[in-house]
Assembly symmetry: C2
Homo-oligomer: 313 residues x 2
């Protein structure tokens, strides 16, 4: 149990991610004030009603916002990543020299570029982070006490970060039950383009396709559990995913290109009625997917050279 995490914490964006962090921190750390920042007065009122934060400030109340930022020793950016530059621009004039700023964004390189431009020689105060958690539902009402229990958090520390600043953010995440790992921002963005951003885009695309394909009622009546699971992530927050796509565009384009090439190979096999090629591809995929849950059968040694990069401490 940590002795000290913060005196004044700002959670900027009290949705699923930010709201769940506030809830979890309140459980492990009764001291210190938690201030929510929300886009509108109505949302600020709502997150107070839900008891997620001690008080909330609307973005429009610039005087209150400046005062809160000046007093904060820990600021967590938890709005969609496309807003990072705007948020940092609002924070920069008031940021005190002892404060740590971190984020929960699903993409890292674009926010770091923005932070460098805006914070300039104070960039060392910004420790980029990404908790691997979430759910199909979004907003403050979806926030949970235990969203981060047992989850992985990736830190992408900058050369300018002090060891103390990195340790503080790691300590906060461990306090809410998360396991902390370290990747470079480029590694992070490539890995999540592959295992998160591409699947989300594919699931959104499937529903877009479905809507224009006719017989929607019959399809809904007869779709099985596989379809339910496959498309669950299509219910994710559109604004958040727009920003993820835009801020990780080049890595996502590489994934999309490679994926479309596989689809083309598959379509060629189907067109040629090449059952052997289809079965070979499906078998590789099946074996890999089964081994995904039991990697000792499959991944041992395959990619062991990259293991050194990942430090779970």
């Amino acid at each position: 149990m940590p002795e000290f995490l913060f005196n004044t914490l700002i959670i900027w964006g009290v949705g699923l991610m930010g709201g769940s962090l506030a809830r979890a921190l309140r459980h492990v750390c009764s001291a210190g004030e938690i201030i929510g920042v929300e886009r509108t007065h109505e949302r600020a009122v709502r997150v107070c009603e839900l008891g997620i934060v001690d008080r909330a400030v609307a973005l429009t109340d610039q005087a209150a916002l400046g005062g809160a930022v000046a007093a904060a020793d820990l600021i967590v950016l938890a709005a969609p990543v496309g807003q990072s530059a705007d948020l940092l621009t609002r924070i920069a004039p008031h940021l005190n020299g002892c404060a740590c700023v971190t984020d929960v964004g699903s993409t890292k390189t674009a926010s770091i570029v923005a932070a460098r431009a805006i914070l300039a020689d104070r960039i060392g105060q910004f420790v980029p982070a990404h908790p691997i958690a979430g759910g199909a539902l979004s907003g403050p009402d979806a926030a949970l006490d235990d969203l981060y229990a047992g989850c992985n958090v990736i830190l992408c520390p900058l050369p300018e970060n002090s060891a103390a600043a990195i340790a503080r953010i790691a300590q906060m995440w461990r306090a809410v039950g998360a396991r902390v790992h370290t990747l470079t921002p480029e590694q992070h963005d490539a890995i999540f383009a592959s295992v998160s951003h591409l699947p989300h885009v594919l699931a959104f695309a499937l529903f877009e396709h479905l809507l224009t394909s006719g017989e929607v009622t019959l399809k809904r009546n007869f779709a099985g559990r596989g379809f339910q699971d496959f498309t669950r992530i299509a219910a994710s927050n559109p604004e958040m995913w727009r920003d993820i796509c835009l801020t990780n565009r080049s890595a996502l384009m590489r994934e999309l290109n490679a994926y479309q090439a596989v689809l083309e190979r598959l379509r060629a096999a189907l067109n040629a009625e090449d059952g052997a090629a289809l079965e070979a591809l499906f078998t590789r995929a099946q074996q890999a997917r089964l081994a995904w849950d039991a990697p000792e059968k499959f991944l041992g040694g395959l990619e062991s050279h990259v293991k050194a990069v990942c430090t779970d401490d």
Copy 2:
């Protein structure tokens, strides 16, 4: 509870689907013999050991097989659909005039074409069916007592089927807890190309892509629950899915073409950094996916003209 379902039932292919049907029928109907047919002697022994069937015959034991078919009053084809023609060819010489033949195949038009060619003027004895059930795991060890409890079964009756034959197959499925519906074979194959066959192909393709994209260990370590759910169906039986693709090729190609067109639109929006287009597409998909679980918000009236086709009785 039904009074009579069969005297001698053959389940041809005692895997997840056939094995679960045998298990469920044994629960509701203690009378009557259940005979399994398996590809090899070893598999025949295995399904007996598991207690799924009363006895099992290997495909190689032609004399025993002919005798079993001649005695059977109900035969369920539960091997991958690509084998339907071969199975019917083996069955035809021994089939008695009172027997009903049905199947559990995920595609219908191709099997019906094969059945017409092979059974000729006895085609009325074949009642095509498709229970919407399954799981990522396959084989007799995956068979469950309650796989079909509460599931939907689609019958695709032929003009040659007698009302009594259709009623018998419907009665069998209701006896194991399923809800019985009726579609034409063409409707069936178009609908399942969309909500089942396309998603499976996309999931297999994602794993194929992943295997060649590097950093597999890191990707596995950090993939979240969304990825797990999205890719679960990639663990499905490759042979079964090869056959589904080949026997529903034209409907699947139409789905794949339309889906790839959506992906191209999405890629163009991403390439142009068109956040508004991305958000609009993601929002349509999100709203539809949320409404998928609560259709009163969304589907009412949209496709109500096709509802009449679907009869749940």
